[in-house]
């Protein structure tokens, strides 16, 4: 139990446990009542009529949804690969010995992290008149690439100093030190944070809906606004959300699993990082160097 691991209260005795059980029952009853009320509302507003659910039995509609899902995954794949690449480039820039390169990359990273992703996507879509998919991918890449750049940089900076010193003492050049010694350890330790950031990218592909990219939500909207099926809005939400949320949860769970493995892995011993939540660094703040 989590009881012993908190500063808040002692391990409860028999009387308190009985009281807690009572609270638990009361809370459970309340939740069940709320869920029941929701179910009643759903029935009351006729959300389970055959007319509203029949569209999902048609092959064409299933294909429409699948195509939407495919487009979502396609945008995610492009955005993930490109942001990893951009993140690597910007991180190298921020770690560079040349001051102008360092300043330029710092400026880019700080700017793109401070801008709402949607503003960038709209700018690329409206002002530069780019097609929806490239606009979405470009916006996601700029934002997530900048965040990943910070993740990479923090990781490399938090590899134990002795590793770097030993590598230099062996006569390796700066590039060799980074690529052979620092980066492999840093990437391994940062893997959970990197994957969590990819979850953000996956979630943000749904912004494509707002620039008429034909992704999953867009397909749902098409079905939901169909008068022939009595505007099946709630059924569409009930079909789409579990799939969307399930995909993100799966990726989040994968990040946690990798994190658990890395903590036990001796190869990450020399990296003293406490991975921050993705994108939670205040702009303009310098992370403490470990």
């Amino acid at each position: 139990m989590t009881h012993s691991a908190t500063a808040l209260y002692d391990i409860p005795g028999p009387v308190t446990r009985r009281r807690h059980r009572l609270y638990g029952i009361a809370a459970t009853v309340l939740i069940l009542a709320a869920l029941g009320w929701l179910l009643y509302l759903l029935f009351d507003t006729d959300q389970f009529t055959a007319a509203k659910w029949s569209p999902f039995t048609y092959k064409g509609i299933q294909e429409l949804l699948l195509r939407g899902l495919g487009n979502t995954l396609k945008a995610f794949a492009y955005a993930a690969v490109l942001s990893l690449a951009l993140g690597a480039v910007l991180a190298v820039g921020r770690l560079s010995e040349h001051r102008p390169v360092r300043w330029l990359s710092t400026l880019l990273v700080e700017f793109f992290r401070a801008m709402p992703v949607l503003v960038m996507i709209f700018f690329i879509f409206v002002a530069l008149k780019v097609q929806p998919l490239p606009a979405l991918v470009a916006g996601l890449t700029l934002y997530n690439g900048s965040v990943l750049a910070e993740v990479f940089r923090t990781g490399i900076n938090s590899v134990e100093r002795g590793q770097r010193e030993a590598a230099y003492a062996l006569g390796l050049r700066k590039t060799q030190v980074t690529t052979y010694v620092l980066a492999p350890q840093a990437v391994r330790a940062m893997m959970p944070t990197i994957i969590s950031q990819l979850v953000v990218a996956l979630k943000d592909t749904s912004l494509g809906f707002l620039i008429t990219y034909e992704e999953f939500l867009h397909a749902g909207k098409l079905i939901a606004s169909n008068l022939d099926y009595d505007l099946p809005f709630i059924p569409v939400v009930m079909v789409i959300s579990p799939i969307y949320i399930g995909m993100c949860m799966l990726l989040s769970w994968f990040a946690n699993w990798v994190g658990g493995r890395q903590r036990r892995n001796p190869k990450t011993e020399a990296v003293g990082v406490a991975p921050a939540e993705p994108g939670t660094l205040l702009p303009g703040r310098q992370e403490p160097r470990v």
């Binding site: 002692d10 638990g24 709402p116 503003v119 409206v126 707002l210 709630i234 205040l282």
Partner: protein, 214 residues
């Protein structure tokens, strides 16, 4: 270049709209996040389950999907409110999951010994919480809550795309009036930068005053 001076009232309205959304949603998110965090550390099993499910679901929900469901879905239940209220609801609930996690990890940074010492001095549960645990947790919670609220301010742009009066939404009328689209976006960007950098400055100030000494 003259986009800003010519349309100052339009920009002003959008800026205030974003600010309003951010402030109201922040209040909702902080309150709800606090409640959910206390659920997650409660000794009652079913409350912990609610908190955990709340966080797990909302953290993995795309905000656009949430806006889609709340703004277009809730009216199907006969709940008709202004779009702005719906937007605050969606943004607040979404952000509350992140606030909850920040608060919970803040509470977890307080060593168990602190609570044990407080209790052995005879302090009651309320005193332990109010005088010993929360003041210490508060210090370590400032930076993550600050960054979460910055993310909230940025996410409020999505409300603009769902036709709530908001800074990003100003590009549309300007575009129709024939102003340079690039410059109108520059000023939109400046508006967002003002908001996010102010939150950042506020929280940096708070951290300097109350933060954990490193």
């Amino acid at each position: 270049m003259y986009v800003l001076t010519d349309n100052f009232s339009l920009y002003g309205k959008g800026f205030l709209g974003t600010l309003e959304l951010t402030v109201y949603s922040s209040i909702l998110a902080l309150l709800l996040g606090f409640v959910m965090a206390s659920f997650r550390v409660a000794p009652v099993g079913s409350l912990r389950v609610i908190g955990t499910v709340w966080v797990a679901v909302l953290r993995n929900t795309p905000l656009t999907l949430l806006f889609f469901a709340v703004l277009l879905g809730l009216p199907r239940f006969g709940l008709v409110l202004p779009f702005k209220v719906f937007a605050v609801l969606a943004l607040g609930c979404y952000t509350s999951a992140f606030i909850c996690e920040a608060l919970r990890s803040g509470i977890n940074t307080v060593p168990t010994g602190q609570g044990e010492a407080a209790r052995s001095l005879g302090l009651s549960f309320g005193q332990t919480l109010g005088n010993v645990v929360l003041p210490q947790a508060f210090r370590s919670v400032i930076p993550p809550v600050g960054s979460t609220l910055i993310a909230l301010a940025k996410n409020s742009a999505i409300a603009g795309a769902f036709s709530v009066t908001e800074l990003l939404g100003t590009y549309k009328p300007l575009n129709e009036l024939g102003y340079s689209i690039i410059w109108s976006f520059v000023w939109i960007a400046v508006g967002y930068l003002i908001i996010t950098l102010s939150i950042s400055a506020l929280f940096n100030l708070m951290e300097k005053r109350w933060g954990v000494a490193r």
